[in-house]
């Protein structure tokens, strides 16, 4: 039973409170969805429920939070962990051991439980999560979906009554997300209280007893996301010049498995194309080929009239964005970051204009790592755009972004395409794909469909 009464909280050194006047009651066994834009306070709320605020994060608060009758400050963190379990977004940083069965018991070992009890809990967790057959496997060999399952198992083994999930499916593809649905359902059936924070929550709505919308640190009364506009793009007259073409391309990382099998398509200048498909469908491989990072084993590929291009041919003409923007920001200030690429290439660039388009004029002298996640993603894209490449390729640009920021990004990309650029991106998010003009779906290395959307 969770009771929150007129609770407000401000992070240390922050000007504005992260949570304002929260009033909330959650009954045991309820399954609750919390949704809202980035920065609306969802994660902060979760941290108040699992004791991380105030034990790890200081800061000032007023009002009260009570978990099963006690306030988080009254008990040490390791005791709270036995009542409230938390699963975070990134499975990589939640796995500590090198073997699955060792990692499942990490939490139990920390609780100093007797040996027989640990073994009992471990086996139960492994069976419940469907990891029993993999228990001897090494953790780094697991796929993303299974890694997250392992993270849930090690929390499950501690047998809390409340499960908090902070954007757990962000990096997952369709298949893994369906599996995760079963896990949440399983927890719900066992009578656990589940509090679920997610951007891509549509698939989980049937399981939810309640939906809470947050905005700017408050619980909003109305449906805050109902009125998001869907940016529109008129079907621009496409030029007939082809910028990328692939003919009967095949590729395999080792001889046995064909990652790409007979790929045939052509992309024209000014198009925006989304590649969809599950992990392992080959979409990232195609994207890498288009930027010269990989060469096909068989078949023909032509980019910007260069046959079988390599990286060196395409630097400055093709921009590639990896999934994690933080790995692509190298400068000391935002404006330096925008000027970095053109500087290396010896080109001039209108930094002012790009700052304006990105909406980062106020932050021009800030260090790139101090701005928000969404702003960093936009900055990474703008820094590539500033090099004025003919093609921009983005690998999973929607990861970790809320709809609002994604829409902002897509408007930037529309604008870029209208000026003659070509945009290609890969995504597992069906809704993001809808905003592209053309959607190519892949499955196991082959193209399933290539359709014009919208």
């Amino acid at each position: 039973m969770i009771t929150i009464d007129s609770f407000s909280y401000t992070y240390p050194y922050a000007d504005l409170p992260a949570l304002q006047d929260i009033n909330l009651q959650i009954e045991p066994g309820e399954t609750v969805l919390i949704r809202g834009a980035s920065g609306s306070g969802k994660t902060t709320l979760l941290y108040c429920l699992n004791g991380l605020i105030p034990h790890v994060f200081a800061g000032s608060s007023c009002g009260s939070v009570r978990l099963n009758g006690f306030a988080p400050l009254e008990k040490p963190l390791h005791e709270i962990a036995q009542t409230v379990g938390t699963v975070f977004q990134n499975p990589e940083s939640q796995i500590f051991m090198m073997r699955v069965e060792d990692d499942v018991v990490f939490g139990c070992e920390n609780l100093c439980l007797p040996k027989e009890e640990i073994i009992r809990r471990r086996d139960e967790a492994l069976h419940f999560m469907g990891l029993w057959d993999m228990r001897h496997k090494e953790t780094f060999k697991l796929s993303g979906g299974y890694k997250q399952r392992l993270a849930v198992s090690s929390i499950y083994a501690m047998q809390p009554n409340v499960f908090l999930f902070d954007e757990p499916t962000t990096d997952m593809d369709g298949e893994s997300r369906k599996d995760f649905f079963k896990i949440i359902k399983g927890l719900k059936d066992k009578g656990k209280t589940v509090i679920f924070v997610e951007h891509q929550y549509e698939d989980y709505l049937p399981l939810m007893d309640r939906v809470i919308n947050m905005e700017s640190g408050r619980i909003a009364e109305n449906n805050a996301l109902a009125k998001t506009f869907l940016p529109a793009r008129e079907a621009a007259a496409l030029s007939s010049s082809s910028v990328i073409s692939m003919k009967q391309v095949c590729f395999g990382y080792d001889r046995k498995i064909n990652v790409l099998d007979n790929i045939d398509f052509m992309i024209r200048k000014g198009e925006i194309v989304a590649f969809c498909g599950d992990n392992g469908s080959g979409k990232t491989t195609i994207l890498k080929m288009m930027s010269g990072l990989l060469q096909p084993d068989q078949g023909e590929i032509t980019v910007l009239n260069i046959h079988k291009p390599v990286l060196e041919h395409l630097v400055g003409r093709v921009g590639f964005l990896f999934q994690n923007p933080d790995e692509q920001l190298f400068a000391a200030t935002v404006e330096e970051e925008i000027a970095f690429g053109p500087g290396c290439l010896g080109r001039k660039t209108d930094v002012e204009r790009y700052l304006e388009i990105a909406g980062l004029k106020a932050k021009r002298l800030s260090h790139p790592q101090t701005i928000s996640r969404g702003q960093r993603q936009v900055l990474a894209v703008i820094s590539i755009m500033a090099m004025e490449p003919e093609i921009i390729i983005l690998d999973e640009p929607t990861t970790g972004l809320d709809n609002r920021t994604w829409h902002k990004l897509i408007v930037l990309l529309y604008d870029y395409a209208d000026r003659g650029g070509t945009v290609i991106f890969s995504t597992h998010n069906e809704h993001a794909a809808v905003l592209a003009g053309r959607k190519i779906t892949m499955h196991k290395g082959r193209i399933l469909s290539d359709e014009i959307s919208g």
Binding site: N50, L52, H55, V56, P76, L77, H78, E79, A81, Q82, G85, T86, F88, N90, E92, S93, Q94, F96, M97, M98, R99, D102, G107, C108, E109, N110, L111, C112, L113, K115, I118, I119, F140, A151, S154, I155, M158, S291, L293, L311, V315, G316, G319, F320, F322, N324, D326, E327, Q328, L329, F330, F340, G341, G343, C344, L345, Q369, S383, I384, M387
Partner: protein, 263 residues
């Protein structure tokens, strides 16, 4: 050398036995003087290495490392041998040839030095082989468990576990950052390129690591990590361990005694 997933005698030994073995061999390496005893030690360690039945590639790699070490040791000791008698094979710098000659006292290659170097490499070989044996026959988490039960604080064990665990992802991150930089036009060829790459690589890598460190810390906190913990796996000394330790200890004392007593 990486962990070898096999079932050999060495694998079955308790990790603490192997650590103690490492300490014993370390002491012997420092203390032994006679060539015959150095050879004995080397062969003993070689036998242990053989028990593991490593892959051909591993043997080849070890061999190359040892030959390189042998070569450099022979050369370095060949030049720096300072005891008499010594016979010169070739002189690079004569002692009276000006400033450099005076400072260095001449640089010449001595035959006795080369032989001496070859002999002393046996110590290096024994050390290299034994450390490889320990690591190839013990799973890293077991090794840490052994050290913890021999007195290493658990929080340090946690630090090492985390650092081992995250090397592959850090390496991947570093590669991706370097690639992203090349894609933005940064030129990384040549010595200047190297330094430029390093200089630009480090801050984003470190900031990413700091973020990761925070996430890992939070994940540990919600798993009730306090530094005080029990381990599911228990280490127990088996009769084989005691026998092995006993034999090794005896061997060590015999070798040292022989050296002191016999002329």
């Amino acid at each position: 050398m990486k962990y070898l997933d096999k079932e050999t005698f060495m694998h079955r030994l308790d990790p603490r036995t192997k650590i103690i073995l490492g300490l014993m061999v370390a002491i012997l390496i420092v203390v032994l003087k006679n060539p015959s005893e150095l050879f004995l030690l080397f062969f003993a360690v070689l036998i242990l290495f053989g028990i593991l039945r490593p892959a051909k590639n591993t043997i080849k790699a070890m061999f190359i490392i040892m030959i390189t070490a042998l070569f450099f040791t022979m050369i370095s000791q060949g030049f720096f041998y300072s005891l008499e008698p010594r016979t010169i094979i070739v002189t690079i710098l004569s002692p009276d040839s000006g400033f450099l000659g005076n400072i260095t006292g001449g640089i010449s290659l001595y035959r006795e030095g080369i032989i001496y170097g070859a002999l002393q490499s046996l110590r290096l070989f024994s050390a290299m082989l034994l450390s490889a044996v320990i690591v190839m026959s013990t799973y890293p988490s077991d090794l840490l468990l052994g050290m913890e039960s021999m007195g290493m604080p658990k929080r340090i064990g946690f630090v090492i576990t985390v650092s081992i665990r995250f090397i592959p992802s850090l390496l991947d991150g570093a590669r991706r950052i370097l690639l992203a930089q090349r894609l933005r036009g940064l030129k990384v060829k040549g010595i200047r390129g190297w330094f430029r790459a390093f200089y630009r690589l480090l801050p984003p890598l470190i900031i990413d690591s700091l973020r990761n460190a925070r996430r890992i810390a939070l994940a540990a906190e919600v798993r009730a990590f306090t530094g005080k913990r029990t381990n599911l796996k228990e280490l127990i000394f088996s009769p084989q361990d005691w026998t092995f330790l006993g034999l090794s200890m005896t061997g060590m004392f015999v070798l040292i005694l022989c050296q002191e007593i016999l002329p």
